[in-house]
């Protein structure tokens, strides 16, 4: 019985935490589902300048709320995704958007992961090839084979 109760309490606690997270967004009412989808996409991709690594959807900071309000107002007024991102980036810099543009200072971010994969693949290919040639080297010559057969026969 207590076990059931405990389980119920746990489940309701988990559900409650979800509803608290959702409460952030409940105040934004949309008539147009497309605008709502755009709004949700944007607040997930815009970064809160005040917080370390939280989107403005996740953050409770007052600034994040201001930016959500602004995003809401712009989306309701018919702004496109690019309009809103540009608005934020001209004010808060590239920091404000989770997809930094490709430029000299960010090149390493874009290139390094694929470079690591390519180099890793090369290393694997080279080492596998090398192992194969080693195996090939272990092929016996006709003379060696004859000796081996002779030794086997002795047994």
């Amino acid at each position: 019985m207590t076990r059931v109760l405990r389980r119920c309490a746990l489940i309701s606690a988990v559900l409650l935490s979800f509803s608290i997270a959702a409460a952030n967004l409940e105040t934004y009412q949309f008539d147009d589902p497309a605008k709502e989808a755009l709004f949700r996409e944007l607040i997930d991709e815009l970064r809160c300048p005040k917080c370390q690594n939280q989107s403005i959807a996740d953050s409770d900071a007052p600034l994040a709320k201001d930016l959500r309000d602004r995003t809401y107002a712009m989306v309701q007024a018919g702004a496109s995704k690019r309009d809103v991102i540009e608005y934020m980036v001209t004010r808060y810099g590239d920091f404000a958007y989770y997809q930094p543009p490709v430029q000299t200072s960010t090149l390493v971010l874009w290139v390094l992961p694929s470079a690591v994969v390519v180099i890793g693949a090369l290393v694997i290919v080279v080492s596998v090839r090398r192992r194969q040639t080693q195996v090939d080297d272990e092929q016996l010559t006709a003379e060696e084979q004859a000796r081996l057969d002779a030794l086997r026969k002795q047994d």
């Binding site: 300048p49 005040k50 370390q52 007052p62 600034l63 201001d66 930016l67 602004r70 980036v89 001209t90 004010r91 808060y92 810099g93 920091f95």
Partner: protein
């Protein structure tokens, strides 16, 4: 034979080189402050705005109050403890003749802000009252205090995040201010 050896050593050295580069990169990250963002406004003119004066709600100011002299735009609020910490130093700077304009950022109330200026002193030539924080948003303000260095043409040169104190004034913010003042007075004479 020796060539093959040199090649082998070179290949063995690659991970070491990568490791050293990585250490250098991470070490730099250790001493950089991730909360300090460079302002997107640097090199650009201040955004246009119209805001009421903090003392007289019916008096409106626009961006022209930030032109005509090298000026510091200080973003502050009474809810911000660091603003209180820097206030005395701002008083000292103003007494030395540094032009400071205040941007009161989403304060609890106008009365509270005016009361603060009356009790702690008013280092500001004038104070803009940004109740909703919308102008601060145009400036890319993400906290308080922040201090913008603006030249006589209204172009933003630098943004300092955090309190202004003796160390900061001896550092980049003060150095840039003095260089600007010198350049501008040199150009005028």
């Amino acid at each position: 034979m020796t060539e093959g050896r040199a090649m082998r050593i070179a290949i063995l050295a690659i991970p070491l080189v990568i490791f050293i580069v990585l250490v250098g990169f991470l070490l730099r990250g250790l001493f950089s402050d991730p909360t300090e963002l460079s302002s997107a406004l640097v090199g650009k003119p201040v955004p246009e705005f119209v805001l009421p004066d903090i003392y007289q709600p019916e008096t409106l100011h626009d961006q022209s109050v930030l032109t005509g002299q090298v000026v510091l735009l200080n973003v502050w609020a009474t809810w911000c403890p660091t603003c209180r910490a820097e206030h005395e130093y701002l008083n000292q700077l103003a007494a030395k003749g540094v032009a400071i304009i205040g941007l009161n950022y989403k304060d609890d109330s106008r009365a509270k802000a005016v009361n603060w200026l009356n009790t702690l002193g008013d280092p500001y030539q004038l104070n803009l009252f940004d109740e909703m924080g919308s102008v601060a948003l145009d400036f890319g303000v993400y906290g308080a205090p922040e201090t913008f260095l603006i030249d006589a043409d209204g172009v933003v040169h630098y943004r300092h995040v955090g309190d202004v104190n003796e160390r900061v004034w001896a550092g980049e913010l003060g150095q840039r201010y003095r260089a600007l003042v010198e350049a501008q007075s040199g150009g005028a004479s």
